[in-house]
């Protein structure tokens, strides 16, 4: 029988938990769950070497360990600091941490354009959630903001560098999932930007995953661009037999009516991808017939995505025919005869890239 491992006792926000040695404070806090887990913008469990850049996961360590119970002099990044036996950590119970986090959010938003009304990430954006919780109403920044031209990284991915917070997650994805990384961070300091050298297309089979790992709207799906807002879509779990040996084929389909607007990898409660999917699953398979539907995705009820999604709706039966003795009502209005939105003849999901004025014909005359 294997020797029993010694577990470390760590107290986070007055909750004590036993974890294995080598666990980071962030992962220990995530095991407790809920509000105790610090937010993370750059750390990603499934990407080796990620973390330590965004400083949103700062926590206060009030006692280093049982052997050396002195507090740590500064706030530490919980994603990169491992627990010690007898460590006492304060996260949301510490005023210092909340204050520091507010400051970090203010720094992250210095160059962020806050164009959430346009951004496709709105509704599932980590920075949006973070600034909703910690951000100030106004900005104290008075200087010119850093701006970049948006451009396409190949046919599928759109890069809005202005929104980027330089978390490096997409760089790690390219390093760890693909054989050859073609994009990276160019320049230094305020000038640093995610780019290919120069304006190359990213076309590896798994490069679509950089869309999912991006915590902001810097990398977005071009096939879904401006098609719909995420909270009008209904996420459904589905899978398919993918020929790619490394692809799991387990995805979330985002439906609007009968149309699949986009395909993403499944995400866990921390917003991290459960398993990577290939580009073919993500961009090419947008028909219901391609997929085996498993059932609706569980959406957190505090998320905007759950808005207006009714569970267990029973549609009342049409009684007009019975009341009218089998006759059809003369004044029943079919909404599609008047409405120009959601026309059955136009499938927005089948248009490549965003819709333009050319995709909407001039108004046809009804009545």
């Amino acid at each position: 029988m294997a020797e029993e491992k010694k577990l470390f006792k760590v107290t986070i926000d007055n909750i004590t938990i036993e974890v294995e040695p080598g666990t980071s404070i962030l992962m220990a806090a995530r095991r407790i769950g809920g509000e105790v887990a610090p937010p993370a913008m750059c750390y990603y469990t499934k990407l080796k070497g990620s973390g330590g850049k965004c400083r949103t996961c700062l926590v206060e360590v009030t006692a280093g360990s049982t052997a050396d119970p002195r507090p740590m002099p500064k706030l530490v990044a919980s994603c990169r600091t491992n627990v010690m036996d007898g460590m006492v950590v304060r996260n949301i119970t510490s005023e210092k941490v909340i204050d520091a986090r507010n400051g970090v959010v203010e720094f992250l938003l210095i160059n962020h354009p806050l164009d959430c009304p346009i951004c496709d990430q709105a509704g599932e954006c980590s920075l949006q959630d973070l600034s909703y919780e910690h951000g100030k109403e106004g900005t104290r920044y008075e200087f010119q903001r850093r701006t970049f031209e948006k451009h396409d990284l190949g046919p599928y991915i759109q890069l809005h560098m202005t929104r980027c917070i330089l978390c490096y997650r997409c760089v790690y994805v390219a390093d760890q999932l693909t054989e050859r990384r073609e994009h990276g961070v160019l320049d230094r300091g305020d000038h640093s930007e995610i780019a290919t050298y120069i304006k190359k297309a990213l076309d590896h089979d798994f490069i679509g995953n950089i869309i999912d790992v991006c915590p902001v709207g810097a990398l977005t799906d071009r096939t879904f661009r401006f098609k719909n807002r995420v909270w009008f879509l209904k996420p459904v779990e589905a899978h398919r037999e993918c020929n790619h040996p490394k692809c799991c084929g387990k995805v979330t389909l985002w439906y609007r009516g009968e149309e699949v607007f986009r395909v993403t990898a499944r995400k866990d409660e921390w917003g991290e991808v459960v398993d990577w999917i290939c580009n073919e699953c993500r961009f090419e398979k947008k028909k219901t017939s391609d997929w085996m539907i498993e059932g609706p995705t569980r959406v957190d009820r505090h998320s905007v995505i759950s808005q207006g999604h009714y569970v267990g709706v029973v549609r009342p039966q049409e009684v007009v025919y019975d009341v009218m003795g089998g006759r059809k009502p003369k004044l029943l209005m079919d909404i599609h005869s008047v409405s120009e939105v959601n026309e059955p003849s136009i499938d927005l999901s089948k248009i490549e890239g965003p819709a333009h004025s050319t995709d909407f014909e001039p108004k046809k005359l009804t009545n």
């Binding site: 346009i118 004044l331 909404i335 120009e340 959601n342 004025s357 009545n367």
Partner: protein, 182 residues
């Protein structure tokens, strides 16, 4: 039978007195009340020649606003539609093409924008949700119509006239409730 409410009054079925049976005194009493009203202040106004002032919080027909250069402010962010408790608002977004910068303020705009006036309850939550001051409720009543088809308002009905090309119509349509730049 037990009365359903405490305010129910029993109808009296007593035979009329002589004074009541005389009939004319009753008529005279009624006419007195009628003529008395001639000298009172009229509570009605001669609509539509005269209109009453609206309350500052009156919420009427929605208007899709333009900016001072005549570009549409709406970016089809969908916040009005998600805020709408009656689910009256629908839209479809499109990307602005090069050369359309004079038409739309942002790179994304509402190619289709519809409010179902049969559903709208004029709560004003769309105005409150709008981050771009693009939709607001004016002090106009939603007009009546004979068919239900006439109540699906698209962009042609909702969009305000262009302030550059039609300044007079724009000023008239803008109304007092339009969001003003601070």
């Amino acid at each position: 039978m037990q009365a359903l409410t405490s305010r129910a009054k029993r109808v009296e079925r007593k035979p009329m007195t002589l004074w009541e049976r005389l009939y004319l005194p009753g008529i005279a009493k009624g006419m007195m009340i009628t003529f008395g009203h001639i000298f009172k202040r009229k509570p009605t106004v001669n609509y539509p020649e005269k209109t009453r002032p609206f309350s500052p919080v009156f919420r009427g027909l929605q208007v899709l606003n333009r900016d001072e250069e005549g570009r549409e402010r709406c970016t089809a962010c969908g916040l009005c539609a998600v805020a709408c408790p009656a689910e009256a608002i629908t839209m479809e977004a499109a990307e602005r093409l090069p050369g359309e910068e004079h038409l739309y303020r942002e790179e994304k705009y509402a190619a289709k924008y519809e409010i179902n006036m049969l559903r709208c309850i004029f709560c004003g939550l769309c105005e409150e949700a709008c981050p771009k001051d693009a939709v607001y409720l004016s002090e106009t009543f939603a007009p009546a119509n004979y068919t239900r088809k006439g109540f699906i308002y698209g962009k042609d009905e909702l969009l305000i006239p262009d302030p550059v090309k039609q300044p007079d119509e724009y000023a008239k349509a803008l109304g007092a409730r339009a969001p003003r730049p601070k």
